[in-house]
């Protein structure tokens, strides 16, 4: 089906097709004004990375919006403190904007630290702070001295770049903590997990695999994070970086300063999860670790494989669109979809770079549309033209899919489903099956119209057979 949506001229260079020759894709730039980008801002980048540090106080210095919109919306879980799930803000008012917000911030920090006794505090600057010139670092320093906890300024003014710059600002703030704790007693086979946010307990799933292998996880940093663990995480021997866009900067700093190598991995999908375990074993050069990694993989795959195969029979040949934040997740999703028999017909990211897009062009089937920093109209157009059965994205993409009668799988941080690890692959397949095979699509106008032509066995009959 075609659509009457035209691509903005300033956007055409950010769209490519796998299997078709073409120059490098335009990416890594600020969004085109008025394009209705799905991206957020610098503040968002910092806030998402640091949010799951559970025993820290997170104070947003600015008017209320930025704090309100980021209050307890993510699926990141904590095994202990829940302080991070509150929203603290200086709620700047007009007079603060005129006279400056430093005093208010200082008072707010002192009051909140006294009340909640956090292990550290992060202070996020929002747009307005960058304009009124509050010296947030100086306030943080004074409060740290007065309270004897680390108080870290996060330079996350919304307009000062893109979400990626926010990741960087978060890494810079985190880096101030690293190396301040005692790293004694850490095993020679030890790692940090970076860029896993413990959505629906995913970090716990991953940690358990590594523990079974005999690898010590020193800090999960951004998932079920703890200040004390971060302070001593420089004692680990290897950094595993999952959400590469967000945490590579920190990992590289740790490599330069503390001599800890890094490996980019992904915990999504059977192939990538297994590769992460094998790569780790290989890094430590231990045949014993490798043996145990193989054991973990074969045990876990055996548990999920029969059910995956059943669902695959239903999903074979269905087409998916992927629009996610980072490219590494997109790679994993393309592979995970293949595992359940599906093809990727559209794939895009908010923050991919030129290398990422080259890799997508290579790994996707010819004809797959590849897009950087897309928007609702483009995504709708691609979904219609490629006749998509499943959209994988976040809340902002969900209504695009649903309005057009397309199944949807939430793979963003708001989700409450564990999609990482082997068990996550099973959950992912369950979600995909549940949405793609739902009988409701028989009644939506877009599908109903094409029903007479398509050989339309009712989706629910096939679905139930397989699940049973």
């Amino acid at each position: 089906m075609s659509s009457d949506i035209d691509i903005l001229p300033s956007r055409t260079a950010s769209i490519a097709e796998a299997g078709r020759a073409g120059g490098p894709m335009k990416c890594g730039k600020v969004s085109v004004a008025g394009s209705v980008s799905q991206r957020a801002c610098v503040f968002c980048g910092s806030r998402v990375v640091l949010y799951p540090i559970a025993d820290a106080l997170h104070v947003v210095h600015g008017p209320i919006g930025c704090a309100a919109y980021t209050w307890d919306i993510r699926g990141a879980q904590s095994s202990g403190p829940q302080l991070f799930r509150n929203s603290f803000s200086t709620d700047l008012q007009e007079l603060d904007v005129i006279y400056g917000g430093e005093k208010k911030l200082e008072r707010a920090l002192l009051e909140l630290i006294a009340k909640h006794q956090p292990k550290a505090a992060f202070v996020y600057s929002t747009c307005i702070v960058g304009l009124i010139g509050d010296d947030v670092s100086a306030v943080c320093k004074r409060v740290a001295a007065a309270t004897s906890i680390p108080v870290l300024s996060v330079a996350s003014e919304g307009f000062k770049g893109t979400k990626k710059d926010g990741y960087r600002a978060a890494c810079e703030a985190l880096y101030k903590l690293i190396g301040t704790g005692d790293a004694a007693g850490i095993s020679k086979h030890s790692i940090n997990l970076m860029g896993d946010f413990n959505i629906a307990g995913e970090s716990w799933v991953i940690c358990e695999y590594f523990e079974r292998m005999g690898v010590e996880v020193v800090a999960t940093i951004t998932g079920d994070g703890r200040v004390d663990a971060i302070r001593r995480c420089h004692g680990a021997r290897l950094n595993l970086v999952q959400c590469s866009g967000s945490m590579t900067h920190l990992a590289k700093k740790m490599e330069a300063e503390h001599g800890i190598p890094l490996k980019r991995v992904s915990f999504f999908g059977i192939e990538d999860m297994a590769a992460a375990l094998y790569e780790t074993a290989k890094f430590f050069g231990s045949e014993e670790l490798m043996e145990r990694a193989r054991a973990v993989v074969s045990e876990e795959v055996a548990k999920i494989f029969p059910q995956l195969r059943a669902w695959r029979a239903d999903l074979e040949g269905k087409k998916a669109a992927i629009y996610v934040g980072g490219a590494f997740k997109a790679f994993s999703l393309v592979r995970a979809l293949r595992t359940i028999g599906m093809t990727t017909a559209v794939v895009g990211t908010q923050t991919g770079d030129a290398d990422d897009y080259n890799q997508l062009r290579e790994m996707c089937d010819p004809g797959t549309i590849i897009v950087d920093d897309s928007n609702p109209l483009e995504l709708a157009k691609f979904c219609l033209e490629q006749d998509i059965d499943l959209f994988i994205g976040g809340v902002k993409e969900r209504p695009i899919a649903y309005k057009l009668g397309i199944g949807f799988c939430d793979h963003n941080h708001e989700r409450k489903e564990c999609l990482a690890g082997f068990v996550g692959m099973l959950n992912f397949a369950r979600e995909v099956h549940a949405t793609v095979m739902s009988p409701v699509w028989n009644y939506v106008p877009r599908r109903a119209r094409r029903m007479p032509n398509a050989e339309c066995r009712t989706a629910n009959d096939r679905g139930e057979e397989a699940v049973a």
């Binding site: 209050w71 007009e94 919304g158 307009f159």
Partner: protein
Amino acid sequence: MSCSSCKPSLPGPALVNEGDEHPEFPSSSTNPCKLCTPLGACLAFKGIAGTVPLLHGSQGCATYIRRYMISHFREPVDIASSNFSEDSAVFGGRKNLHTALENVTRQYKPAMVGVATTCLSETMGENMPMLLGEYRAEATQEGQPALVHVSTPSFKGTHAEGFHAAVRAIVETLAAPRSTLERLAPIALMPGMVSPADLRHLRDLVSWWGVPATFVPDYSETLDGGSWSNYERMPSGGTSLDEIRALGSARATIECGLVLAGEKSTAGTHLAAKFGVRLHRLGLPIGLRQTDLFCGAMEEAANAVIPERVERERGRLIDAYVDAHKYLSGRKAIVYGEEDLVASLAVFLAEIGVWPVLCAAGGRSGRLESAILGAAPELKGRIEVREGSDFGEIETQIAELKPDLLIGSSKGYKLARSLGLPLVRCGFPVHDRIGSQRIQMLGYTGTLQLFDCIVNALLEKKQEDSEIGYSYL
């Protein structure tokens, strides 16, 4: 702010030290009971046919607000951004704004672009009328949209103020003097921040008087529409620009909101001052008394008595009040949210025998308490009213107040859960249930829906807490 007889043991506003620049505000907010002004403006713009909201500021503002609204309405909410960079923050956002307008016009072909500012552009002092005037003068593309601008600095007011400011801006910009064309003069209806289902019901209710009504805004279809066979750039529905232009010849304005009624300049006061349109300022029609007043205004505006079917609805509501009164009598509720909602809910609760022990709003109009007591004098001395409140503050009061239930957005869930109290969800946002856009409370019939929810929430709690577990109550 607190009522004259509030208990001295209740904590007052945060203590402030001498020498503070503006001691009326606490230094921080914990778990806010408000959102920022541009969100309200975007919601209002979504109720105008063929309109794309555009925020003049950072990309994040548009994206956060979109996500927040999408999670509530479960509909596409496209909001454009002029996407400031460091350059635009230093040299001004003219270029970005113009590019954004161009691109929105090209992509969406809108009838109108609703331009709202943000804390960033307001702090920079962007001269919006000038920037938009220049754009209009320089635009070469065919089919230029109407441009409506509203000033919505997020450091001033809440999403409710942003909403009302946008409604006012729409009417001020578009409403024109009486046209020579003969037409049946409509009633101008400013319903306030209510749900799409409430808008639909209100529209039905008004239609039974047999006069046309122009709702500003009307997102009853745009934010709660059907399934599509092709992608709608701007979801169908909404009040057309022509309908708004004709408001100069409206026969009357009904503007809902007890707190809004004390606002000096609104869409309604504008129509009254400029075109001499009779203005009725009422509460949201929740409950019997406030819906009676609404129907009274309708009778006057339509010059027709209350339709029989509305009378029957009214009767059904009173009957329900009687059926359930013993389950409600003396129960205590905490009501929170935007001021107009809190005020009208409190007035409604008073008439069913539920005591709104704490009425907390994020806004700071200075009029919340008088708005409630003006409409429900029987509450005088019996309730605590808090402006500029947040859930951190509500939490500190809740143990002492011992409420039986909470009424408000899903943001109160954490509190309700920790205390094991029922939460009746209404207002904005409701992010943890399906059907948030269809929660009803307006008119006799809408009130009945809310009333049933409240009674049943209390019954369910009683049933759950009972060791016996009666299945016959």
